[in-house]
Assembly symmetry: C2
Homo-oligomer: 404 residues x 2
Amino acid sequence: MRGHPLTGTISAHATAAGSTWLDRRILGRIRRSVDSAPVRFVLWDGFEIEPASQRAIATIHFKNRLALLSWAWNPDLNFGETYMSGAVEISGDFGALLDAIYRALPPKPRRWPAFGRANDARAARDNVHHHYDLGNEFYRLWLDREMVYTCAYFPTPQSTLDEAQVAKMDLVCRKLHLAPGERVIEAGCGWGALALFMARHYGVTVTAFNVSTEQIAYARARACRLGLSSRVAFVEDDYRNAVGACDAFVSLGMLEHVGLQDYPTLGRVINRTLTATGRGLLHFIGRDRPAPLNPWITRRIFPGAYPPVLREVFERVLEPADLSVLDVENLRLHYAATLEHWLQRFEDASTHVAGQFDAAFVRAWRLYLAGARVAFTTGSMQLFQVLFARSGNNAIPWVRVSGL
Amino acid sequence: MRGHPLTGTISAHATAAGSTWLDRRILGRIRRSVDSAPVRFVLWDGFEIEPASQRAIATIHFKNRLALLSWAWNPDLNFGETYMSGAVEISGDFGALLDAIYRALPPKPRRWPAFGRANDARAARDNVHHHYDLGNEFYRLWLDREMVYTCAYFPTPQSTLDEAQVAKMDLVCRKLHLAPGERVIEAGCGWGALALFMARHYGVTVTAFNVSTEQIAYARARACRLGLSSRVAFVEDDYRNAVGACDAFVSLGMLEHVGLQDYPTLGRVINRTLTATGRGLLHFIGRDRPAPLNPWITRRIFPGAYPPVLREVFERVLEPADLSVLDVENLRLHYAATLEHWLQRFEDASTHVAGQFDAAFVRAWRLYLAGARVAFTTGSMQLFQVLFARSGNNAIPWVRVSGL
């Protein structure tokens, strides 16, 4: 499985011997840690614990002792590890189970030590390759028509995913008040959908950065097909190497991968490139309170990622660069809806995905997408769009745009 | 002059002796500190320094040596002190002069020590009396028809002040998604305009807090006249004593007077009163980067006031109370426009104000209003509206409102 290390997984083989008194005590402790969740727990020999009062919405089945012990040892990590490897099987409503477990868990501590590790250019590149170079074919199976891998904007909850991704791109352009002929820098451009949309519908020229080889190749081919190669430059490079001036600086879904230590660098890049009357927009997954990313997500899905709280972005990116916050919008429910679409489409394609990769990959991505949906539904994660300009720029819009 | 101590002012008497070599050196140093401002400086004996290259837009006239020395010693404080007392006279375009000086000053240091003093209930009361109990008659001279003493919202720059204050109140109600029958707590309600507006136009009941005796009396009389006394309770008390549940918590122009140390208390009051699906809105003067308030404004106009940066509000008010930021809007240019209206109306009424108080009072308020306008025009100050809800509340609006 390219770029997706599954070494060191917990075996899915069933323990032959029956469960002991100690196994059952450990299971009891695990159940009490999510006491209010209506879940049935089953051990390899058929021993069961039913939920205290309600009917079970799902069953968690430990196939061996190692799986059980690993949950007791580090549930945040090993829920994912054991589900992915098949050492734990889950039947029933998977989404409802995750939701119930999220809500049953005690609140995380309010303070935790800051990260020690910066994402230098090389680490950033490795992290990106890990996730985004899984192959365009894979993402095409379940993303929208435009291949946009960030939170969509649903004008109504009934909008389709295709409509909502276009609506999101249009919302971003309107917030930025793009005018024909303006120059845009995009940091982290994915498969190029936004850059091409801006050039096509708002008449701007775009320089779009991405360190993912596959994504840049795909984006360039699209620009050629659309006759936009002269107005959209897709650069296979780190956004930190951006030079020249821009009237708008935009970045969707990249800040999560930047790392707190490198936020001032992002601020310096914006400060170096943005004109006196320029506008900028950062769109990112964030939190209400600082917390580390789940360790399983960090290990298997997004190495080096961190969803910040707004104040970390303001203090480390905007303030040192003398930028002024004009507008913030929280699109949390829109990300929950986006993930619901992605998850549905992913499940529809899961047989194909299993053939392309394997069953563990399918389970890992199912858990990632379903878990992320629950994180947005329960308010553990937020999606922020932050619009900004230079302090004292009086060419800013008089009134803001609404989404409709 | 009730509640407005002008003790210890610098005398406006002219120095009889001619200026010395040292006086002129000091004047030269003052001029160089605002080198790019096209201002003429004149001493008591007629000695002049013209601006370096441009034509002067205004003249600053020191009438005595003490005024000159006080500028050299502490310009941030004594610009205001000497102008207020008449020891310095300014001719020419006052607003343009303030603007030029603001822009000519070197940027303030990025870091400065945090305040050591909390605004306990008594200090808060004293600070409020100092400013807001100058008499309803005084404020009626230059505020809008509804007596709203916070930033207005101008649907277009041509809107009148009356229209813009109504538009602001309506914008706040729409952001809060008020529904008939809901209960609102307002912290710091001024003369009651918003509380009455919400009850009248959105069918809610309001409990509105204010420690200013005169304002509460005025607000109650209005509620009676409008037949709203049963639906709007004006409470002469500290907002910290609010009890009961509310569907919306709103506070306009109060946070600036709360003091950083007391932000968690505000968060606790909100946390104690807001229902699970409630919304809240804080509207306050803020900054892009932390900085102390000008010492003259602190001494003469707003003792105990501090305009925060967004992250201070998020970290100290919202995070500890588990609240989630839904929406932030920066209305800086709207405050500049509001202040332009206030200043114009204040000048129109200045003869009347001088009769009610004295000439020094008029000069102090002219400087405050004109200086505040420049602070918003130059981006030294911002006006933020922050909309929030409890973390994980999924009854939040799907899309946000625009101002139009």
